[in-house]
Amino acid sequence: MSGTGSSTSRQRTVGSFSVEQPLWIAVSAFRVLTMLYAIGRYAEHEWHYTNQLGAWIYLGVLAAWTLGTVKVFWSKANCSRRWLAGDLALIVAGILLTRAFDGHAWVVGGDVTLPTIRAAGSVLGFAVYGGWLPAAFAGLVVGVANIVEATKLTSSNLHNIVLLLLAGVAIGFVVELARKSEETLARALEIQAATRERERLARDIHDGVLQVLTLVKRRGTELGGEAGEIAALAGEQEVALRALIAEGLGPVGPLGPSGSAAAQDPDAPQDLRALLAPLSGTRVSVAQPGTPVLLPARTAGELKAAVGAALDNVRQHVGERAQAWILVEDEPDAVIVSVRDDGPGVDPARLGQAEREGRLGVSQSIRGRLRDLGGTAEIFSAAGQGTEVELRVPRPVPGQRGRNQETL
């Protein structure tokens, strides 16, 4: 994973599914097989050669070279330009020597050269090594050598050269493509591994940060004073971070806490719990069922707004430091959200009076919201026991319950 780009390290990284390696083996095998073919072909046509010893010496050198370099041409790691150039030079020499060793009539008649299709092995080596451009170059060199050997451009000669060029270029192109896909794949795998590692680290870090924040909150609260203020801050941050993580890791879609899908469709079911969770904090406790509480997004949104208004009411009437509890209940026919505070409470008689006089502004707005949803909002209070607002929203569709069950 060093990413230095060196061919060896890359091959090791993606070694198990390398496309390139089999091609090198194929080139190596092709060189040996074509060398054997060249020897056999020569043995058959030896009778019309004028310098048979010279031909045999050349073929001996070619055989020794080809067999000696099997390991070199076995993988890209061992092969270099020098080896390729040497191979090409030997082939070109063989082609040109054919003119000297073979009977003149045969040379003019377009007889095959000494290395014959072993020349293709050299061109393929270039193709696999460097792609289509080096392959085209090697093919052209072999082609020119052929023309020089025959001293003219015959049609069969041209045919062979074109075939050689085509094969070299095509294979070179395929090799380039394979190499690129391999690189892309390797990069993708690296990114994937890095992402997984980052996620794991993030989880650990988040967990650690959350624990520390909670601990600061706990110890700070015990110490009181300025430490207490720091503790409160830590507590708030813990809740905020936890909500953020829950949102980030939560399912995406209509049930997702972000509600982006639900925002587009007011009737899409949305989990009320996800909407209310952010309200929880050091002064607000949220008690909810363990399974999604699904309501049409618009209803859920209105309900959340009503709960928010109720909390504002608590802060306004009881004070900033007031404690509040929210309870979400998922009944078959209705969803009930209760908001209770630990304030001094109000005498019910006074509550009714205040309401008649229209002095319960916020409460009125809560009632209004619930009425629009076809639900009710009730306010209970007793002196010394705080005030409780109970919001009840009927389930709009009978089928809703079935859908709810499916998600359990």
């Binding site: 624990q211 909670t214 936890r242 829950a246 069922p289 399974t291 309870l327 209770r340 709810n404």
Partner: protein, 239 residues
């Protein structure tokens, strides 16, 4: 809680003149937290007999030292804390498990409670709350947060809404009595037991019993379901 279980508790609470210190094991993967909790408990006179940082350690040490109370974090590196709870509850005598976990692990908390944990406290609770919770857990009392009460209420509703299994005339899902529902709702709304008792004209002990009963029903149902599952899966034929 059944009577038999309450009996077991009394022996541990030691009604005698000099009550033996409560033996506690603290399980938390965070060394800092583990030590802070253990120190708080030790300072308050509890006997912290073991601490553990992962599930394997927790089960091993739990079996070896047989603590009276296990303070258990559900977020452990190797196995879910719920699994630890389950395995510890299989021991004889089973410890009382108080789940001390970060908030926002609803499903896990419910599972832990169903498999035998009798208390749940969020980590943001104060030291006094923690000490009180461990004492109450050791004494056999259920320790509820408003959040847990909400979860338990929701779980009973979910069970009631489940379709009746084929071949049965009626659902065997546990149900809450009206009184129990009433009590749980008030707990979920953050009222202390004393205030609930005042409001419902009951003794605080009765309120505690009602809360306890709701847990007992869930745990019993959970065991029945496990046995039913084992029979259906043919696990009973192995022996």
């Amino acid at each position: 809680m059944t009577k038999e279980e309450t009996g077991m508790k009394d022996e541990k609470a030691g009604a005698g003149a000099v009550p033996a210190p409560i033996r506690v094991m603290v399980v938390d993967d965070h060394p800092m937290w583990r030590e802070a909790v253990a120190r708080d408990l030790a300072d308050a006179g509890f006997d912290v007999v073991a601490t553990a940082g992962d599930a394997r350690e927790a089960v091993q040490r739990g079996r070896a030292v047989q603590p009276g109370v296990v303070v258990l974090d559900l977020n452990l590196p190797d196995q879910p804390g719920v699994e630890v709870c389950r395995q510890l509850m299989a021991a004889e005598p089973a410890p009382r498990v108080l789940v001390l976990s970060a908030s926002g692990e609803h499903g896990d908390v419910l599972e832990a409670v169903k498999s035998g944990a009798t208390g749940y406290l969020v980590k943001s609770a104060s030291r006094e709350e923690l000490l009180d919770a461990v004492r109450r857990t050791a004494h056999g009392d259920a320790v509820f947060t408003p959040g847990l009460a909400g979860l338990v209420l929701g779980e009973f509703r979910r069970l009631a809404a489940e379709p009746v299994p084929a071949g049965q005339a009626e659902s065997n899902a546990p149900r809450l009595t009206e009184r129990e529902t009433e009590v749980l709702r008030l707990v979920a709304k953050g009222l202390p037991y004393k205030a609930i008792a005042d409001r419902l004209v009951l003794s605080p002990r009765t309120v505690q019993n009602h809360v306890q009963n709701t847990l007992g029903k869930l745990q019993l149902h959970n065991r029945v379901e496990l046995v039913r599952y084992a029979i259906e899966a043919g696990l009973d034929e192995e022996g």
